[in-house]
Every structure is written in structure tokens, then in C-alpha cells.
């Protein structure tokens, strides 16, 4: 068990893989500043064991942070059959892009689908908003 688990608010290190979601895409076309797009984008799908370690319930907000940014999103359970502790999934969106490194090794291709962050409970803090 890593040290983070013993802190008052447990924090764990997570690798995020982003993906496309048709319902989220549709919501973006209809209104990219709307609630539906936010609700379908500002989420992270975690392994059930990671949720437990973080001491957060499904639907609670969590803070995702690294040296590039900090966002608050809703935690969900992934529901995948295979366990994936330490790996989590997020739809690709302005929220996930807040955390993507600018380090590209000069290739011009950021690691959109491979984001390392620390996760901790947001203790009720609201989801990050992108207002125009």
C-alpha cells in the first residue's frame, strides 16, 4: 500500500487514458457550454478498488492534478470486467486537456491519451466550469 493511503484525505497516482463517447460528442455539437456536455465530459471512470481507497463514492467529486493543471470532476466506477487499478478513463474534452503535458520531445504530438495525475477527494467542491 502506498504512503498516500495513510493521509487524512487519501490520494493515489493514476494514469488516465482518454476516449471518444458518442453521447458526449452529440452534446458538444448541441451546446459546448451546456450542462449536458459538462456532465458527460467532466467525469473519470475508476476501478472500484481505487474508489474505495480514495474513500469516495460514485458521483462524488474528485480533484485531478499534476504540474500542468488542476480540475474537479465526478468519479464514476468503470464497470469493466477486468480490474484496472491505477488506470482510469476519461472522455477526451477541454477537462482532460487541462492535464495534458506540453512535453512532446519535439514531435508535435502531445500525450492526449496518457496522462499521469494525482487523485484525491474534492470534498464536495463543484465540477470545474469552462464558461465563455
Amino acid at each position: 500500500m502506498d504512503f498516500g493511503s495513510f493521509l487524512a484525505a487519501p490520494e493515489i497516482k493514476i494514469r488516465i487514458v482518454t476516449y471518444r463517447d458518442i453521447f458526449q460528442d452529440k452534446a458538444m455539437i448541441e451546446n459546448r457550454f451546456g450542462e449536458e456536455y459538462r456532465d458527460r465530459s467532466a467525469i473519470i471512470k475508476l476501478d472500484a478498488a481505487d474508489l474505495k481507497q480514495l474513500n469516495v463514492k460514485k458521483g462524488d467529486t474528485v480533484i485531478l492534478s499534476n504540474s500542468f493543471g488542476r480540475i474537479v470532476v465526478k468519479a464514476e466506477e468503470s464497470g469493466y470486467d477486468t480490474p484496472h487499478r491505477g488506470l482510469a478513463y476519461m472522455p477526451n474534452s477541454p477537462w482532460s486537456n487541462m492535464l495534458v503535458s506540453d512535453e512532446t520531445g519535439g514531435t508535435g504530438v502531445p500525450k492526449f491519451k496518457d496522462i499521469s495525475v494525482t487523485v484525491t477527494s474534492a470534498k464536495g467542491e463543484k465540477v470545474t466550469e469552462f464558461k465563455p
Binding site: R15, V17, Y19, R20, D21, I22, F23, D25, K26, I29, E30, N31, R32, F33, F68, G69, Y80, D81, T82, H84, L87, Y89, S93, P94, N97, M98, V100, S101, D102, T104, G106, T107, G108, V109, P110, K111, F112, K113, D114, F130, P132
Partner: protein, 414 residues
């Protein structure tokens, strides 16, 4: 009764069998299209508008201001164009040449390297019609068309009864997914889902190549060799195999060499083609148009009549290094779609946003020109993900300028 079909410009499939009901230039119903296509064609529109410094202005003022930004810039960035017609793209290339600009599109950080390889005949490819009519083994690699290209499986790749595949998916097609997560497409593939760890693609490719020639496939993540050998056997038997390559595959590779190796090995044993899962409806068109003009598919810098090319002229590196001093963004929202650690530098330079809808980028632009949705409110031509040219007419009329008309006016004002 003769039907009037439209083309959906919602994604790289450019579905050409769409019917609509419209009245007074408002689309009430859309038939045949997918969820994304319907939303795209019925997109809610506010009033047409031109803005400078977030205040409404008339067309002439916005065009004049845009031209003046480009004229005063030493190295403007022209970026976007994946959702513009061929005609608009060609004008943007001309504009880039005229203003000594850096020109790039989204393929720069997605499928550009694969499209380039196809244009240079480094990889065998085919059309989606070939897939529908002939394909017996279909691989979705790092791609989830059920979410990104919703009619891909039903219209082209898996479910249809093609001319040489009358027994369809039940008997004559095998769909395989290779991915890091069980996507909706992977679920359809059932037992033919091969789950690999993130960035495990190159190793999986080499293990598969070993298995194709009867060697024991090994990976550092201990993928069961038996499963890879089973996969190799299916692929060896393919009479017309297709790999649909998505971003999951591309992002995990340092370069395209593993893909070239795999295609070579597959074609020594069977018959395989590759089609990139192009997202934006005319990203491939941009690559082809720029290639015809310069010999490069993206990432170019025009300078006194010459063309330079390289990663330093990519949208990401040029914004990161702050080498560009103004930006013309056409049909794209880099403040949302690029890492904020990179796109934040856009906030320091004057930006012209040409887009049919308000975006974070348009809200932070010095000049915003609200244009027609191409394929819905304006016509033109584009290239489908498989290289087929598609022409389309507008579904409804609008007073908004098309991208093409906007670029023409900016060019005249220069």
C-alpha cells in the same frame, strides 16, 4: 419517386444517403443519419455575426481587421480546416503562401503520418466500398467507430451484405478489436477482443509478426502466446483483410515503422489493406490538397516563395515555442482540443476565428466571423476517410458567409 439525398459532414464517413425535412430554411427532421449526424445537421444557430474585440461589427470591419492582423504579423499561424471544403482549403494554402504563414491542421497530432504513408504508396489501402463488398477479416486497432464513426459498422465494415459477402457478418466476416479498453466496438467483436496495456501496441505488433511466421510470440507484459497464435491464424486466412487504424494505435507508436512491418508481414501470408479512421470530415482532403501543392501533408512554413517542413512548424511546437505572432483558426477550437499547457499561448497573440459556432477559441479571439456550416448551409467537395471524393450541396440557405467566401474576402483585403 426520386429521392433527394444529402451528404452528412458530421465525420470522415461522409454518409451520402441522408434525407431531411426542412421548412423556411430550418431542418425539422433528419433521416438515416446517426446521433452525431442528426445533431450536426440540426445544429442550433444564433444570429449571424461579426465581432472585433468581442463587440459586434459589420462584415467589412471584421474582414479589414482580419486582413490587418495577417498583414502585420511576421509569422502568422493558419490552423484548422478539417471541417472546411476542398475549395476553402486551397484558398487557405494560397493565403498561407501570400502571408508567409505557418500552416498546419489537426492531422499534425493525429493521423497525418498514416495518410502521408498512403499518399506515398507505402501502405496498401482500399475504399470503404471494397470493405463492404469483399472484406472477410476486419481489425479495429485503437479505434472505436461505434462512438467515433457511428455508421461505420452498419454501412460499411461489418454488418452489410456486400456483393461478395451475401452471408454477412454471421458467417462471412470476422471483426477483431485490439484496444486498451473494452470499447463499444470491442463488445461487438466478442471473443475477438484483444486487450493490451497502454503503449503495448508496438510489442504486440512484433509478437503478432513472430506468430505469423510460426514463432513463439513474446511480450514483456506476458500476453498469452496462444491467443496471439490464434489471432495470427485468423489473419493468415484472410482473403481481403482490413485494418482500421485509430488514434489509440497512432499515439502509442513512436513512428509508423511497426505498422509498415506488420503490413509487410501480413501481405506475405494474406491480403491486407489499411484505412485510417479519419475523424473530421475533410482532414484527409487537407492532407491531399497540401501534398499536391507542396509535397507535405501538414506542418509547413512558407517563406519568400519556398516551403519549409518539419515538427517545428506543427501547431503544437510553434505555439509552445511562441514562434508565431498571430493566428487564423478556421473551424477548430484549439483552446478546447489542444493541451491547455500549449494553447494558453494563443491568449498572447491576436487570433482570428472563423467558425460556424461559438467556441472557447472564438470567445477569446480578436476577430470572430460566424460562418456557414459546410455541408449544411454551404456546398463544396471533400475527401472521405478512404480517399473517395464526395461533392455536396447545401441543405438550407443562409446569409452567413462560407469559409471559402470569408477567405476570399480576407485575401482581397490584404
Amino acid at each position: 419517386m426520386e429521392k433527394n439525398y444529402y451528404v452528412c459532414t458530421g465525420c470522415g464517413l461522409l454518409c451520402d444517403d441522408i434525407e431531411v425535412e426542412s421548412e423556411k430554411n430550418i431542418i425539422n427532421k433528419v433521416y438515416t443519419a446517426c446521433r452525431v449526424g442528426v445533431a450536426h445537421m440540426k445544429e442550433v444557430r444564433g444570429e449571424a455575426g461579426f465581432r472585433v474585440d468581442n463587440a459586434p461589427v459589420d462584415e467589412a470591419t471584421a474582414i479589414r481587421e482580419a486582413a490587418s492582423i495577417l498583414k502585420n504579423a511576421k509569422n502568422p499561424l493558419i490552423f484548422g480546416l478539417g471541417t472546411s471544403t476542398d475549395e476553402a482549403q486551397k484558398l487557405a494554402i494560397e493565403l498561407a503562401r501570400k502571408t508567409d504563414a505557418t500552416l498546419d491542421d489537426t492531422s499534425s497530432f493525429c493521423l497525418g503520418p498514416l495518410v502521408e504513408a498512403l499518399l506515398q504508396d507505402k501502405i496498401k489501402t482500399c475504399t470503404l466500398d471494397d470493405v463492404r463488398n469483399k472484406a472477410d477479416v476486419i481489425i479495429f486497432w485503437g479505434a472505436d467507430p461505434s462512438d467515433s464513426h457511428p455508421r461505420h459498422l452498419s454501412k460499411h465494415s461489418y454488418f452489410p451484405r456486400g456483393s461478395e459477402k451475401q452471408r454477412g457478418w454471421e458467417e462471412e466476416r470476422t471483426a477483431i478489436a485490439i484496444d486498451v479498453r473494452k470499447s463499444h466496438t470491442a463488445k461487438i467483436c466478442g471473443n475477438y477482443f484483444f486487450q493490451i496495456p497502454p503503449e503495448g501496441d508496438a510489442e504486440f505488433i512484433d509478437a503478432l509478426i513472430a506468430a505469423l511466421s510460426g514463432k513463439l510470440p513474446k511480450t514483456s507484459y506476458n500476453y498469452p502466446p496462444k491467443k496471439i497464435l490464434e489471432l495470427a491464424n485468423i489473419l493468415k486466412g484472410a482473403k481481403f483483410g482490413v485494418i482500421f487504424a485509430g488514434l489509440g494505435l497512432i499515439y502509442s507508436l513512436k513512428d509508423m515503422e511497426p505498422v509498415f512491418r506488420l503490413m509487410k508481414a501480413l501481405n506475405e501470408k494474406a491480403n491486407f489493406q489499411l484505412v485510417p479512421m479519419v475523424g473530421h470530415y475533410n482532414m484527409r482532403g487537407f492532407n491531399e490538397n497540401l501534398y499536391a501543392e507542396t509535397g507535405y501533408v501538414n506542418r509547413v512554413k512558407f517563406e519568400n516563395g519556398t516551403v519549409k517542413h518539419g515538427p517545428e512548424y506543427s501547431v503544437v511546437e510553434s505555439l509552445k515555442a511562441k514562434t508565431v505572432d498571430a493566428a487564423l483558426i478556421i473551424g477548430s477550437d484549439p483552446l478546447s482540443s489542444l493541451p491547455r499547457s500549449v494553447s494558453k499561448n494563443l491568449l498572447e497573440i491576436p487570433v482570428i476565428s472563423i467558425d460556424p459556432c461559438e467556441t472557447l477559441t472564438s470567445k477569446h479571439s480578436k476577430v470572430y466571423i460566424n460562418t456557414a456550416i459546410s455541408g449544411v448551409e454551404s456546398g463544396g467537395s471533400a475527401t472521405r476517410m478512404d480517399g473517395i471524393k464526395v461533392s455536396f450541396k447545401p441543405v438550407v440557405e443562409t446569409a452567413r458567409l462560407s469559409d471559402e467566401a470569408t477567405l476570399k474576402k480576407i485575401m482581397e483585403a490584404l
